[in-house]
C-alpha cells in the first residue's frame, strides 16, 4: 500500500482521538461514580436501575412509616399501661371496700374512683403526633367526655376508625387502637344466612342492651333478602314498655355479600365501613353496630347478637361511685365488669404488642432489603474505581507514547536530509 503523508497524520489523529475518547469516558465515570450516565450507555441497565431505585424509594418510605408508627404505638402502649395501672389500683380498692372495716369511708372511696375516672379519661384523650391515641380517625373533638348533666360519660366522636399504614409491598397494617374497642360498646351481629333462602325471607334477632345509666332496652334487628347475595337490614331499640326510642325509624342498610366466598363485602356500598354508629343522646344509648362477622353459606340461617356493654368502664365506675355516695357497696357484677375491663385492656395491650413486634421484624427485613438494593444498584451502576484508575493510567501512558512517536515521525520527510 502506498503511504501518503495524509495517511500517517490521519492514523495519528484517529488513534489519539480514540485514546482521548476512552480517557474522557473513564474520567467522567471516576468523577460521577456512575457507569450509566444516560440510557444509551446501557438501556437494560437503566431499566434495572429504575426498578431498583423505585424499590429503594419505597423501602425508605416504609422505613419512615415504621419509625413514625412505632412512635405512635409506643405512646399507645404507654397510655394503655397508665390506664391499666389505674384499673389495677381500682380493683384493689373495690376489694378493700368489701371489707366491712372500710365501709365507713365510702365517700373517700367514691372520691378515689372519681379521681381515677378523671385520670383515665385524660389518658383516653391523649394525643400523639397530632392524633388522638384512642380517637380512631375522627379528630374533630376530644374522643371522650362527660354528658352535659354530669350523669354519664360518652364518646364525643366516632372512635372506631382505623389508621391503616403500608409497611411493605404486601403488608397494610392498622397502627392504632380504636377507642371503641377499649372503652366503647360494640354490638356484633354474628352468624350466617343460607344462600338457598328465597328472596323475601326475613330473619329477626333481638338482644338486651343498656343505656349509660344501666337501664335495659331491647335491640331488634331485621334482615330481609332482597336479591341474590343482598339483604336489607332494619333495626329498632325499644324500652321496657315496647316503645321505640327513635323519633323516626332509622334508615335501612343494604348488605352485599361476595357470591364466591360468602363474606360481607359492603354496607350501603361502602367496602371499608362494615360498622355503623347508633347514637340516641336522649336515652344515653351509644354503641357501635358491627356487621363484620356476618356471612353467607349453605347452612341453615343462624344470626345472633352479642354486646360487650358490661365493660363500658367509665359509666360502670361512675355507677359504682354514685352507689358508694349513696352507701351502696359495689356488687359482684360491677366488680366483675371492672375486672373484665382489666382483662380486655391486657388483651388489647398484647394486640398492640403484636403489631409492634410485627413491624419491628419488618423494619429489620427492610433494612436488609435496603442494603441488598444498594448493593444491586452498586453492581449495576457503580464504578470499580481501582480498575478505572488503572485503565486511566494505561490510556494516559498510551497517549503519551503515541504523542512522542507522533512528534518523532510526523515532521520528518526527505526534505529534512537534503
Amino acid at each position: 500500500m502506498r503511504i501518503s503523508d495524509l495517511i500517517i497524520s490521519n492514523n495519528y489523529l484517529g488513534n489519539t482521538n480514540k485514546i482521548k475518547d476512552r480517557i474522557s469516558i473513564l474520567n467522567r465515570q471516576i468523577i460521577s461514580g456512575n457507569k450509566i450516565e444516560k440510557p444509551s450507555d446501557s438501556p437494560v441497565g437503566t431499566s434495572r436501575l429504575f426498578r431498583i431505585s423505585d424499590q429503594m424509594g419505597q423501602v425508605e418510605t416504609y422505613q419512615k412509616n415504621i419509625k413514625n408508627s412505632l412512635s405512635f404505638l409506643d405512646e399507645t402502649v404507654f397510655a394503655m399501661e397508665s390506664i391499666q395501672s389505674e384499673v389495677m389500683n381500682l380493683v384493689g380498692k373495690l376489694t378493700e371496700i368489701q371489707n366491712p372495716i372500710n365501709q365507713g369511708n365510702l365517700d373517700v372511696y367514691a372520691d378515689m374512683i372519681d379521681n381515677s375516672i378523671k385520670i383515665m379519661l385524660d389518658t383516653a384523650n391523649a394525643k400523639s403526633d397530632g392524633k388522638y391515641v384512642f380517637g380512631g380517625t375522627d379528630y374533630s373533638n376530644k374522643p371522650y367526655g362527660i354528658s352535659l348533666d354530669n350523669q354519664s360519660y360518652q364518646a364525643n366522636t366516632d372512635t372506631s376508625g382505623r389508621i391503616n399504614v403500608k409497611f411493605s409491598q404486601s403488608v397494610v397494617q392498622s397502627t392504632n387502637m380504636p377507642g371503641v374497642e377499649l372503652f366503647g360498646t360494640i354490638v356484633s351481629s354474628k352468624g350466617f344466612f343460607n344462600t338457598a333462602d328465597t328472596i323475601g325471607t326475613i330473619t329477626n334477632t333481638t338482644s338486651t342492651i343498656y343505656d349509660n345509666l344501666g337501664n335495659e332496652y331491647q335491640l331488634q334487628t331485621n334482615y330481609q333478602k332482597t336479591a341474590a347475595n343482598t339483604y336489607q337490614m332494619t333495626y329498632d331499640i325499644v324500652d321496657g314498655s315496647g316503645t321505640t326510642v327513635f323519633a323516626a325509624p332509622p334508615a335501612a342498610k343494604t348488605l352485599a355479600f361476595n357470591s364466591l366466598n360468602g363474606n360481607l363485602v359492603s354496607v350501603d356500598g361502602s367496602t371499608s365501613g362494615l360498622t355503623f354508629e347508633v347514637n340516641v343522646p336522649a336515652n344515653r344509648i351509644q354503641f357501635t353496630m358491627s356487621l363484620k362477622s356476618l356471612s353467607e353459606n349453605n347452612s341453615a340461617t343462624s344470626i345472633s347478637l352479642s354486646a360487650n356493654q358490661p365493660t363500658d368502664i367509665f359509666n360502670t365506675l361512675k355507677q359504682i361511685s354514685n352507689d358508694l355516695r349513696n352507701g351502696i357497696i359495689p356488687n359482684d357484677a360491677q366488680i366483675a365488669a371492672v375486672e373484665n375491663f382489666n382483662s380486655r385492656i391486657t388483651a388489647k395491650q398484647s394486640e398492640v404488642g403484636n403489631i409492634i413486634n410485627q413491624i419491628s421484624t419488618l423494619q429489620s427485613m427492610l433494612e436488609q432489603q435496603n442494603f441488598n438494593l444498594q448493593e444491586l444498584a452498586q453492581n449495576e451502576n457503580g464504578v470499580d474505581i481501582a480498575r478505572a484508575v488503572v485503565d486511566l493510567q494505561n490510556q494516559d501512558f498510551l497517549l503519551q507514547v503515541s504523542q512522542k512517536i507522533g512528534a518523532m515521525i510526523l515532521p520528518k520527510s526527505l526534505l529534512d536530509y537534503l
Partner: protein
C-alpha cells in the same frame, strides 16, 4: 542529424522538466489539503524522425498531467457518508433527547414519580399533618415541573431541528448550484484545453459534502460532468440544477423539489436524520410519555375525587390534577392554595388516610397495557436508550468503514512528500543534464567554428 537538434531536444527537455517541477511543487504545497488529488506527469517521447533509414529520437514531452483518483472508492465514500452522517446526527439528536429526560438520576421523571407516590404513602400515616400534605404538594410540583420541562424542551428541540432542516436544504441548493457551475466550467475548460484537475477536486469535495446532507446517486456523463439525483429526482447535471424546499405536512418534515408535488424519499444524510427524529422519534417518545401521564392523572383523580378534604367547609369530588394541557401537568390550584383540600379521607374524618393509601398503591397497579406506570415509563426510556445505542453503534461502524475508505483514498490520491521530493531531485538532475547537453552542443559547435 543536424547539430542544432541537440539544442532542440535539450531545450524541449528543459521546458518539460520545468513543467514537471511545477506539478511536483503543486503536489507538495497541497500535501495537507484533504480534498486535493495528487497529479502525475505522464512523460512520453516526441515523435521520432526517419532519416537515411535510421530512426532519430526527438526527446521527451508531457502527454498528460493526470489526476490520480479512484471512482470506485469515491462511490463507496459517497454511500458511506450518507449512512454515517445519518446515524451520527440521529445519535446526537437522540443524545439531546436523553439529556432532556435526564435519566437515570434523582431529577428524572421515574424518581419523581416514585417520590410522588411515596409522599402519599407517608401521608397515610398521619393524614391530618399539614407538613406531610405540603410534602405531597412539593412532590407533585416537582413531578409536574419535570414533565412540563421535558415537553417544553422536546418542543424546543423540534423547533431547532425544523430550523436546521431548512438551513440544510438551503445548503443542498447552494452546493447543487456550485456543482452545476463547475460541471459547466470543467466542460468548457476541457474543450479549450485548460487544465481542469483542480476544478474536479473542488467538485468532488462538494459531492462529498452533499452526500453528508442527503442521499444522492452520482454518475458521470461522457463530458465528465457529475449527474446527481436525490431520492430519484434529478438534482444537477451540466445543463441545469434543481432547487429543493422543506415542508411540514401532518407533523412530518419533507424535502421536495420546488414546485414539485411529491416529497423526496429520504434514506440517508443529515436531512434524513433530522426528518426521522422530528417526524417519528420525538412524537413517539412524547406519545408514550403522554400515555403515562394521562393514565397517572386518570388513576390519581379517580381515587382523589372520592375522598373528603379536612378543610372547613369539608369538600369532596375534587380532582388532584387539573389536567394535562399542551404538555403541562397541572395540579388543582385549590389544593395548592390549601393543602387541607387534599382529599384523602374516605369517611370524612381527618385521621382517615385510606384514599392516600390507595393512591400510594397505584404504583403497583397494572394501569397501562398490563404494566405499571413505572414499567411503562421505564420501557419508553429503554426504547430511547436502545435508539441511542443503536445509532451510536451504526455511527461507529460507519466511521470505521469511512476511515478505511479515507485511508484508501489517501493512499491513492494523497501526496507523499518523500515521493515528491524524490521526483524533485530526479527532475532537477534531468533538468541539469539537459542544460549540460546545451553546453556540450555549444562546445561542439564552438570546436567546429574554430576549425574554420
Amino acid at each position: 542529424m543536424a547539430l542544432t537538434k541537440i539544442f532542440d531536444i535539450s531545450s524541449r527537455s528543459l521546458a518539460v522538466y520545468r513543467r514537471a517541477l511545477e506539478v511536483t511543487s503543486h503536489n507538495i504545497v497541497n500535501s495537507a489539503n484533504p480534498n486535493y488529488s495528487r497529479q502525475r506527469i505522464m512523460f512520453s517521447t516526441e515523435t521520432s524522425n526517419l532519416t537515411a533509414g535510421l530512426v532519430w529520437g526527438n526527446g521527451v514531452k508531457i502527454s498528460d498531467v493526470m489526476r490520480v483518483r479512484d471512482r470506485l472508492v469515491d462511490t463507496h465514500i459517497i454511500g458511506t457518508n450518507q449512512k454515517y452522517s445519518d446515524s451520527n446526527r440521529q445519535s446526537q439528536l437522540v443524545g439531546d433527547v436523553e439529556k432532556i429526560f435526564s435519566e437515570p438520576s434523582d431529577l428524572g421523571i421515574s424518581n419523581l414519580m416514585t417520590t410522588f407516590f411515596n409522599s402519599f404513602n407517608e401521608l397515610a400515616v398521619t393524614p391530618n399533618s399539614v407538613p406531610l400534605r405540603t410534602n405531597v404538594l412539593n412532590a407533585s410540583n416537582n413531578l409536574s415541573a419535570k414533565v412540563t420541562s421535558v415537553n417544553q424542551s422536546l418542543n424546543t428541540l423540534k423547533g431547532d431541528i425544523k430550523q436546521e432542516f431548512q438551513q440544510k436544504v438551503n445548503s443542498v441548493n447552494s452546493i447543487l448550484d456550485q456543482i452545476h457551475q463547475i460541471n459547466y466550467e470543467q466542460f468548457s475548460n476541457a474543450y479549450n484545453g485548460t487544465p481542469v484537475n483542480d476544478l474536479l477536486d473542488k467538485r468532488d469535495a462538494l459531492v462529498d459534502e452533499l452526500s453528508n446532507l442527503v442521499n444522492i446517486n452520482v454518475v458521470y456523463d461522457n463530458t465528465n460532468s457529475a449527474v446527481i439525483s436525490i431520492g430519484g429526482a434529478l438534482a444537477v447535471d451540466r445543463m441545469h440544477s434543481s432547487q429543493f424546499v422543506a415542508e411540514e405536512v401532518n407533523g412530518k418534515l419533507n424535502l421536495k423539489i420546488k414546485d414539485g408535488s411529491y416529497p423526496i424519499v429520504l434514506t440517508g444524510g443529515e436531512l434524513n436524520a433530522l426528518s426521522q427524529v422530528y417526524s417519528k422519534k420525538i412524537p413517539a417518545y412524547q406519545q408514550k410519555l403522554d400515555a403515562v401521564i394521562n393514565k397517572l392523572i386518570e388513576a390519581v383523580n379517580g381515587e382523589h375525587v372520592n375522598g373528603f378534604t379536612i378543610s372547613d367547609p369539608q369538600e369532596t369530588g375534587l380532582n388532584f390534577f387539573e389536567g394535562y394541557v399542551n404538555g403541562k401537568l397541572l395540579i388543582n390550584q385549590e389544593l395548592v392554595d390549601d393543602p387541607n383540600k387534599i382529599a384523602i379521607s374516605q369517611d370524612g374524618t381527618e385521621g382517615n388516610g385510606e384514599i392516600a393509601l390507595r393512591i400510594a398503591q397505584l404504583t403497583d397497579a397494572k394501569l397501562l397495557n398490563g404494566n405499571t406506570l413505572q414499567e411503562s415509563y421505564s420501557s419508553m426510556i429503554n426504547g430511547l436508550g436502545n435508539d441511542g445505542m443503536l445509532q451510536n453503534n451504526y455511527t461507529q461502524a460507519n466511521q470505521m468503514v469511512l476511515d478505511e475508505l479515507a485511508q484508501l483514498r489517501a493512499s491513492q490520491s494523497g501526496v507523499s512528500v518523500d515521493e515528491e521530493m524524490t521526483n524533485v531531485l530526479k527532475f532537477q538532475r534531468t533538468y541539469e543534464a539537459s542544460a549540460k547537453l546545451i553546453t556540450v552542443a555549444d562546445e561542439i559547435l564552438q570546436t567546429i567554428l574554430n576549425m574554420v
